[in-house]
């Protein structure tokens, strides 16, 4: 499924923050996780994830550190900060308001 660009851009932040809620992880794993839970319907251009992550980092919502995996590969892990968590809660509130509004509107006029 292809989404309009604006929707992808707007939804990327809450989705990434949601993935990071669970545990620290790295870019590639975030992409795979999102594909997996959405049955490949959310299919980002993978390279676009990193500018978004860096933007979140610059805004203080996530932090990053490098990790060397067992196979010697160096990966940059991201960790959600306290500010990131409260931003996440705020975003979820906003999205659920929109979602509920859409639901009740579509029930009114099917």
């Amino acid at each position: 499924m292809t989404f309009p660009k604006d929707l992808v851009a707007a939804s990327a932040t809450p989705i990434i923050l949601a993935v990071l809620q669970g545990r620290d992880t790295y870019g590639y794993a975030i992409i795979r996780k999102v594909q997996q839970i959405s049955d490949h319907r959310i299919d980002w251009k993978e390279g676009m994830l990193y500018p978004v992550l860096h933007r979140l980092e610059a805004a203080g919502l996530v932090e990053s550190y490098w990790v060397v995996a067992e196979n010697g590969r160096r990966r940059k892990y991201y960790h959600i900060t306290a500010a990131g968590r409260s931003e996440y809660r705020a975003l979820i509130d906003q999205w659920s308001v929109v979602y509920r509004a859409l639901c009740s509107l579509s029930e009114e006029s099917p």
């Binding site: 790295y26 870019g27 590639y28 251009k45 993978e46 390279g47 676009m48 990193y50 500018p51 860096h54 933007r55 610059a58 932090e63 990053s64 550190y65 490098w66 990790v67 060397v68 995996a69 067992e70 010697g72 590969r73 160096r74 990966r75 940059k76 892990y77 409260s86 931003e87 809660r89 705020a90 509130d93």
Partner: protein
């Protein structure tokens, strides 16, 4: 035969080439690419196909570049980075160059205003030119940014009017022998005007409200990142000014020498026209070039910081040794104190500059000293202190010591010989420097010993930066009347 490693390194060079993707970013993308290739290979895809697929999945390189460049749209130099391939951007760039050249000529013309008003003699009115030099050099830069950043005129014109206001103020103040306050004005005006340029560099700063918290995040000239970029911009412009200025000097002497050979004295023409236009136009050209030739200076800047940090550490240590050997010299010799101050100012500038250049050089920490961690794969903070930070910290700590010596010297001279404009200005500056250096060293110690983020130091330093222009403004506006314009 498909060579995966060489293909990956070619790909990496390719994505690094445009400059908006830094070293650390490309490392991260490479790691992603390799993960992707591994997974595809496990599914039985050949190495070559896996590479091609993985690259495709990453998406259009040009778009990624643009996204990375957007990350730092507030730094003008990176946004210049988007290649000028479309005819529209090419045209914009041509217009911009024309405007910059025009402004450079304007800077030269500004410097001719005193001559029009009857103060043409450089020798006789040298102080007047010294006092106004910063105005000639910096006003065109403000206008350039006004155009370049398309700043809102309504909020920018009042800020722009600081330039004529300062011009009128400093020239209305009289100056009597021995002209100390006038010289102080000449030295302090660049600091004030530079801080005004920050506004034009960063743009106005409305407080953006974050809906849910009600907490404001500063944008525009107030934001830490903008200030950091501005510091870097100022440092790099300075390097350009020195480089081009030296080249220009050589050229001038060559020309003058040639004219002398054919029996013409070119020096009057050079001092009247070429030198002022060249010198004052230099600053706006440097400001423009910093934006245009971003990648060039980005590779020089960290190198320069690395060369000079240990050298200045040596200078400070030798100063301290000299002081320990002959303590009286430092107190009694007036010029020694001045040198202390100059060196301290340079050290602070260097520390600021290497702090601002640090992110560019955000390279991967060496894999050698990874220690196994119970949390799983061995981990290490991305901004763990390196040898480099230890050196900078040592530099700052020794600067604190040197500053304490300088400060005690000034206080001693003050109590022995009373207040003069120079001593009062030096006292103020040394106190500000000392406070700043102590805060910096505390920040560094917290960062190195307690592992607090490096960013805390940057935020602190950028927040206290305005104390310098404020003090400079006091020196310019209040010192002359206070010291009877002497």
């Amino acid at each position: 035969m498909f060579e995966l490693e060489s293909q990956i390194s070619t790909w990496k060079r390719h994505i690094q080439a445009a400059g908006s993707i830094g070293y650390s970013d490309s490392e991260e993308l490479e790691s992603h690419l390799r993960d992707s290739i591994d997974e595809l290979s496990e599914q039985g895809v050949s190495e070559e196909e896996a590479f091609l697929l993985a690259v495709r999945r990453l998406g259009d390189t040009a778009v990624i570049h643009e996204e990375f460049a957007k990350l730092t749209t507030e730094d003008l130099w990176r946004s210049l980075f988007v290649p000028a391939d479309s005819p529209l951007t090419a045209r914009r760039n041509r217009i911009e160059l024309l405007i910059v050249l025009g402004l450079a000529v304007c800077a030269g013309l500004l410097s001719k205003i005193p001559a029009v008003l009857g103060f043409g003699d450089l020798e006789q009115y040298s102080l007047l030119y010294l006092k106004n030099a910063a105005l000639f050099a910096f006003t065109p830069i403000a206008v350039y940014f006004l155009y370049k950043r398309a700043l809102p005129l309504r909020s920018s014109i009042p800020v722009l009017s600081i330039f004529p206001f300062m011009a009128i103020l400093i020239n209305l103040y009289p100056s009597y022998e021995p002209h100390h306050t006038a010289i102080l004005t000449a030295v302090h005006l660049p600091i004030v005007l530079l801080s005004v340029l920050l506004y034009f560099y960063g743009g106005p700063s409305p407080l953006i409200r974050r809906g849910h918290q009600g907490a404001g995040t500063p944008a525009g000239w107030r934001s830490t990142n903008t200030r950091l970029n501005f510091v870097r911009f100022a440092g790099e412009s300075f390097i350009y000014v020195i480089l081009i200025g030296l080249g220009g000097l050589v050229l001038i002497f060559l020309t003058a020498g040639t004219f002398e050979l054919i029996g013409l004295d070119a020096f009057p023409f050079i001092t009247a026209w070429i030198a002022p236009f060249g010198f004052f136009g230099l600053f706006i050209m440097a400001a423009y070039l910093v934006g245009q030739k971003q990648s060039l200076i980005e590779s020089i800047a960290p190198v320069l910081a690395r060369i000079f940090t240990p050298l200045f550490l040596l200078v400070l240590l030798s100063l301290l040794t000299a002081f320990a050997l002959t303590p009286n010299q430092a107190y009694e010799n007036r010029s020694m104190l001045i040198w202390f101050d100059v060196i301290l100012a340079i050290v602070l500038g260097l520390a600021l500059y290497s702090m601002s250049a640090r992110e560019i050089d955000d390279s991967f920490p060496p894999a050698a000293d990874q220690s196994p961690d119970p949390l799983g794969p061995s981990r290490r903070r991305a901004d763990a202190p390196r040898l480099w930070d230890l050196l900078t910290c040592a530099l700052i700590l020794s600067a604190v010591l040197v500053d304490i010596i300088a400060l005690s010297g000034i206080i001693m001279r003050l109590s022995a010989y009373g207040f003069t404009p120079n001593r009062a200005a030096a006292l103020g500056e040394n106190i500000l420097l000392l406070i700043n250096l102590i805060l910096l060293s505390l920040g560094y110690l917290r960062y190195i010993l307690k592992g607090q983020p490096f960013r805390d130091i940057l935020v602190m330093q950028m927040r206290i930066l305005p104390i310098y222009p404020i003090w400079a403004l006091i020196v310019i506006m209040l010192f002359p009347p206070f010291f009877a314009f002497r």
